[in-house]
Assembly symmetry: C2
Homo-oligomer: 256 residues x 2
DNA sequence: GACTCCAGTGAACAGATGTACACTGAACAG
DNA sequence: CTGTTCAGTGTACATCTGTTCACTGGAGTC
């Protein structure tokens, strides 16, 4: 138990970050072989990545809860006990996986935000859904992990995912607030709308992850449905608005 | 292995149904004690229910995949090996649980359908959401199980849930088709709309299941948000309609 | 009353699991 | 060159898992 505590103190992410502040000039001296030999920290980081990759790999068709430490270690090519050099428990590995997956998701958001799309909601919808589609296909494992653990999980992992997704929805609400004709909406309603959009997007992700080759439903069809769904929501929003404040009966940028 | 096969042949639901066709007059003769003594089939059914209840109980804060046969048996008050008298595997128990939960859900639908609500969508929304709320609170375990396994599970259990939910969504689409001003919608679009509604309802269920006492969010707030979400969707639908077929610009029954 | 059936028992198994412990050897610091 | 650090190894153990097998005793049948 004492040994475990020591491990958890020495092998955290925090540790790696701390170490970065130490003098690491010795790399020039140490890394002479070029490839076979590497600095100790490099090696450690590498097997850490192996562990994460191994876990993600095994998670392709199972829940995180059914993953055993030994299994992950074996697939990563290390002995079970060496696992503790990197994570104090499977839960910690899981949280790290959430962070990694969330990085993917955030990259997607940034990509969608900075995309050259005009002010029209219709353009935004098309671009957003296509961005989503592209990223889901490029990182299926991450998205699968996130959706699965969000609803299926229970431990610290599920909590971490839930928190991040709530944050995500809030950010979207802020984005929405920028739109001219949503200016008069209450924050509460904006959040409601953001949640609806996020929920709808999650459904799309699920659809994309569940298509089996030769299942009838193609990616194209799913994307089209997703766009329709969002257009439906936006139409509701527009109408809602004009109902509550007649002043905004002026033209909206082409909506659909 | 042979023994197992024999068990799975003898202990299915099918078996119980078959037995019903046999002469069961002997009950009059056998059940004399009144309560302590019971017919053999009654006893069996009772411990079967115990098994299902035990599993559902354990599933309160865990995934089905992390449930062990021994655990369930122990909580049901029987020895592990006796489990096989009722189910050939945990998966089979899981599927039975899906059926039981789905019965709850269908009861809810029927209750919502036959409720005295006028033709107005607004009334329907209010009644539906309140019906949902009531049933979720009355059978939290069932709803928790269904949502968790739908998204988190992987095995036959998850497949069973997915199938039932798809069916559910289809039924809703048929219901929607009855509305006057949706008559011109394509089946495809109706399904899209039904999916959106079901998805939104699922989100509501999740919200309801995740409130912790003293979490800020009350049941009332969740119900209100849920109603808003649905109203938003319906508004979108109404507008969509009037966009695609100008003929229907006539008055809709008061929508919100 | 004698015989069959079968839900539930209890001991036993092979395998997997998490984790403690003592170790090795190469990267590292002086 | 010398001593330290530490990622990774191998052994070991207690615990839990699914499943087998032979059994018991009471309900059900004739």
């Amino acid at each position: 138990m004492t040994a475990l505590a020591v491990n958890s103190e020495n092998c955290d992410v925090a540790d790696i970050e701390d170490v970065r502040t130490l003098p690491l000039v010795s790399t020039d001296q140490g890394a002479r072989g070029g490839e076979s030999t590497a600095t100790r920290r490099e090696r450690k980081e590498k097997t850490r990545q192996s562990l994460l990759a191994a876990a993600l790999d095994l998670l392709a068709d199972r829940g995180f809860a059914s993953l055993s430490l030994r299994e992950v270690a074996k697939r990563a090519g290390i002995v079970p006990t060496a696992f503790y050099r990197h994570f104090a428990s499977m839960d910690e590995l899981g949280v790290a996986l959430v962070e990694e997956s969330m990085r993917t998701l955030r990259t997607m958001i940034r990509s969608a935000r900075t995309d050259p799309s005009d002010e029209a909601f219709g353009g935004i919808i098309r671009v957003s859904v296509r961005t989503l589609h592209r990223h889901v296909r490029a990182h299926e494992d991450h998205f699968r992990f996130l959706t699965r653990e969000r609803y299926g999980g229970t431990g610290p992992v599920a909590r971490a995912v839930a928190m991040e997704l709530r944050l995500f929805s809030s950010e979207l609400a802020v984005d929405l607030a920028r739109f001219e004709f949503l200016r008069e909406w209450s924050t509460e309603d904006l959040h409601m709308m953001a949640d609806l959009i996020v929920t709808s997007m999650q459904a799309t992700v699920l659809d994309l992850l569940e298509v089996r080759p030769g299942d009838g439903a193609t990616d194209e069809a799913i994307v089209k449905t997703a766009e329709k769904r969002l257009r439906l929501i936006v139409l509701g929003v527009a109408n809602w608005q004009s109902k509550h404040s007649p002043a905004s009966d002026r033209e909206h940028p082409r909506l659909v």
